[in-house]
């Protein structure tokens, strides 16, 4: 019985695959030939050629880096250098392990620090930003307009502007050399709140009113009605927050070696000279791949959220 079941499933899968593969080139050919009346075929061909060229240009540094990460030493020091690796090796990654074995602080500690900051920072940002976004998105009350305006205004300058007083405040709060020096300011990032608020504005007010007639409290409405229906937005916020927190080195606020982050440790290794070119490329590849993969997984959600990201007049 069981084997019979398996075979039908795989047959179905095969058929689906066949349909998929038949369809994919069709969509592309259709794009070239069967377009709208005000599109020229040559224009389409030119467009694709141009985009392929640009895509290569954008990818070139990444390809170069990825290949360097797998090059043995003699290929790294070859003149003239090649882009593509000839005899790929994992030596650079293994050397990375050796470096960490020699260091006082074990690799696992750096990874733990980063994961701790990432999880708490990202979760907190999603929760606090969503909670603040909901009243601003769906209600008009005393102060709501002013707060919304201040949020937009705060998007208009970058954190470097407030670096100095932030240091003063964080040290006065006694947060130097704690994870909170990185986590708490991340909670106050306004881009997340802004994206959340814009997305929530699309929810019809009648939905909220119906729930409140049924006797649900504001918190219950927020948790049971709003949050489930803005899933793409908080996935996006998660990705945005992940991308920023992942690269945080915290070297302004954290001086104790055992509290430093993974990206700080990797950055220190990458900084050491030309002989470690391969290790540096390996480090960059790791730093690059993890946020990129999270983005690829969440891409459709991010794009959906961004449809509401515009600034209202």
């Amino acid at each position: 019985m069981a084997s019979f079941k398996v075979s039908t499933v795989s047959l179905e899968k095969k058929q689906n695959l066949r349909i998929k593969y038949k369809r994919a080139p069709n969509a592309f050919i259709k794009f070239f030939t069967n377009t709208r009346s005000n599109r020229s075929v040559w224009g389409n061909i030119l467009l694709v050629a141009f985009l392929t060229f640009l895509a290569f240009l954008f990818l070139f540094p990444v390809i170069f880096m990825a290949n360097n990460a797998f090059k043995p030493l003699h290929e790294l020091l070859k003149f003239p250098p090649d882009i593509i690796v000839k005899t790929p090796t994992l030596n650079n990654f293994l050397e990375l392990r050796v470096i960490f074995q020699d260091s006082v602080i074990p690799l696992s500690r750096y990874i733990f620090n980063t994961i701790f900051i990432l999880v708490i920072g990202t979760a907190g940002q999603v929760i606090f930003a969503s909670m603040a976004a909901y009243p601003l998105a769906k209600y008009k009350f005393f102060g709501s307009e002013v707060i919304s305006r201040i949020i937009v205004l705060s998007l208009m300058f970058s954190p470097v502007v407030t670096a100095v007083p932030n240091y003063v405040i964080i040290s006065k709060l006694g947060l130097i050399d704690t994870y909170w020096a990185i986590i708490l300011p991340a909670f106050a990032a306004t881009l997340g709140l802004y994206l959340m608020k814009n997305f929530m504005e699309q929810i019809p007010s009648s939905l909220i009113e119906a729930a409140s007639i049924d006797g649900a409290s504001e918190f219950a409405i927020f948790w049971r009605v709003i949050m489930p229906s803005v899933k793409p937005a908080w996935i996006t916020l998660f990705i945005v927050s992940f991308q920023t927190m992942w690269g945080v080195t915290g070297d302004m606020y954290i001086y104790k070696e055992n509290l430093k982050t993974f990206s700080y440790a990797l950055g220190q290794i990458a900084r050491v000279g030309i002989a470690r070119q391969g290790v540096m490329a390996a480090v960059s590849l790791i730093m690059f791949l993890i946020p990129t993969i999270t983005f690829i997984i969440a891409q459709s959600n991010v794009i959906e959220t961004m449809t509401t990201s515009g600034l209202k007049e």
Partner: protein, 299 residues
Amino acid sequence: MEDKIRVYGFKRNKDLYLMMFPFLVLFCIFVALPVLISIIISFTDFNLLQFPKFVGLSNYRRLFLNDDIFITAVKNTFVIAVITGPIGYLLAYLMAWLINELPAKIRAILTIIFYAPSISGNVYLIFTIIFSGDPYGYLNAKLLEWGIIDSPILWLQDTQYMLPVVILVSLWMSLGFGFLAFIAGLQTVDKTQYEAGEIDGIRNRWQELWYITLPNMRPQLMFGAIMSITSALGVGDITVALTGFPSPNYGAHTIANHLLDYGSIRMEMGYASAIAVVLFGMMVFTNLLIQKFIKRVGT
């Protein structure tokens, strides 16, 4: 049009304020208060140890009249921002618009390729190898091999080449959130408008862009502008990573670099705050100006 619920009763208001409370407190401590403190400290002499001493406008006077390096930083920042801001913005829009018509799967792949450089991490460090000053640097090696140059060029040390390299790398990284917003915005433009346009005699994609697409995307255009302006004027990390800190002869020294120099190395907090206030003013002023301008587009 605006679908919002008006609330008057205190009971309901109380819950709403309570929900915003944690964020607002953190926002005040880490965003609003620092801006105010910056402005106040910028009128004082403050070294973190002693109580700030009020010195009036002397920090600003020194900044604009006696600090040649600041003037260099302003110049460099302007050169970088004036090129990477508008070009990065247009590039982001152009790319989003061009990939918009492609089949969904190819569009998704291209989105990742163009967005990937701006994803955090330190991918841009690879440019220190590509533009490395010794003959093993990729670009030098290729140029030497092809016989275009006789001796390696110090791309990252020669003041002549530093800024162009920084600009190139900034442009490479400029397809960020604005780009994603543009892609999303393009997908929301009502398809029937394009069909109507086709009947009304819109002959090619350029006319379609100007008469239908752009006016429909004003909110996203404004959001993208904020992202471009803020990151273009705040440029600093890239210059440090590529050309070092401080860069040779301050050839790629930016306002953000100057700010961190005084704020975290020389510990002249008053002076650093004055730099921060100037940078803050430049960012907000440029943003408000461009917002006004975009509002008028297509009206």
